[in-house]
Amino acid sequence: MMHCTMDDLLALRAGEASVWARKHIETCAACRAELDALYQRVAQLKALPALRPPRDRWPVVRDAVRGERARRRRTWGVWSLAAAAALAGVLLLQPNQAALHAELAEVKQQSATLEEQLQRYDVDGRVLSGRAAALVADLEDRIAVIDGALTSPAQDAQRVKLWQQRVGLMQQLVTVRATRARYVGL
């Protein structure tokens, strides 16, 4: 007599078995016992006790993330200043676009200054209230979207507009952080 294979038993458990397997399991006590044993094994696996980490790994994660944040801030600050300086150079070469470029350089400089201010309030990711945290997350999300747009090619006028929006959001972010810092007496 032919019996169910493990594939058949697993298919029966999943409700995907062949017609033959479904009929066979009704009449074969040995295969029903195998199916029961399969259910029991899985139930026992699910009931195994949770294994707990032997050491606290949070300090390693925390320190690594702090290091990454500090590096990112430094890189961003340097990049902003370099971009502003490069634009100042372009001004000399293309006087017909001077006004637009001047505006772009100015708004980038504002952005870099705000980044520096923000860094002072955000050194260790200090504790925020839930409302403030949600506001910060929203502002940072919107800044990230603008940063994404700034990486794409665009006309100078469009870039000025994006940078102005970025500065506006950065100012709001600094205000939230500064308010919180005053509140906790930092």
Binding site: R41, L45, K46, L48, P53, R57, G125, V127
Partner: protein
């Protein structure tokens, strides 16, 4: 192991904003289920600890990408499973073993006559353990496992069948020896 941990939205929002206390609270909430998943799949406690660390580094870096679709544990668990499977794949490549190789069990252990399910499970190959744990305990579908492993659905199904056949043989052998 069933994880039914509800995390307040406000905690997630604070974590997204980079609040250290909120990030640590998330770590504390999920360190045991992540470690348990990794430990059941990986060969050694040290490997499981590394998976725990890599998982939370990724969680902290990417928490802003979590949009609240589905349970946070599902999102973190997928990161943990991916990290564990990547580590297994890397180790297998280093050892020049095929992914679906039949097992050798964990180093320093051997199958005795009296073996319980937990020890029998440890003697499965890395790949078989991963498939059994993800499918039967964590509730992943074969499609999801195939996606995580970069393999086909039939690969996942056949691994599960082979693993259960082997568990059955090991446990039956144990019962026979005890009788």
């Amino acid at each position: 192991m069933t994880v039914a941990l509800a995390v307040p939205d406000v905690l997630v929002a604070r974590a997204k904003a980079g609040d250290q206390a909120a990030l640590e609270a998330l770590f504390r909430a999920f360190e045991t289920p992540v470690y348990n998943l990794a430990r059941r799949i990986m060969r050694t406690p040290e490997d499981a600890e590394d998976v725990l660390q890599e998982t939370f580094l990724e969680v902290v870096r990417s928490i802003r990408q979590y949009r609240g679709e589905g349970h946070l544990w599902g999102w973190i668990r997928r990161i943990a499973a991916t990290k564990a499977l990547m580590r297994i794949r890397r180790d297998q490549l280093r050892a020049a073993e095929p992914l679906d190789d039949e097992p050798a069990g964990r180093p320093g252990t051997h199958i005795g006559a009296n073996i319980d399910l937990e020890r029998a499970f440890e003697h499965l190959s890395d790949t078989s353990r991963s498939v059994v744990w993800l499918h039967d305990v964590e509730g992943y579908t074969h499609e999801e496992i195939a996606d995580l492993m970069g393999k086909s659905v039939s690969f996942s199904k056949s691994q599960l069948a082979r693993a259960h056949a082997r568990l059955r043989r090991m446990l039956q052998g144990s019962e026979g020896a005890e009788a």
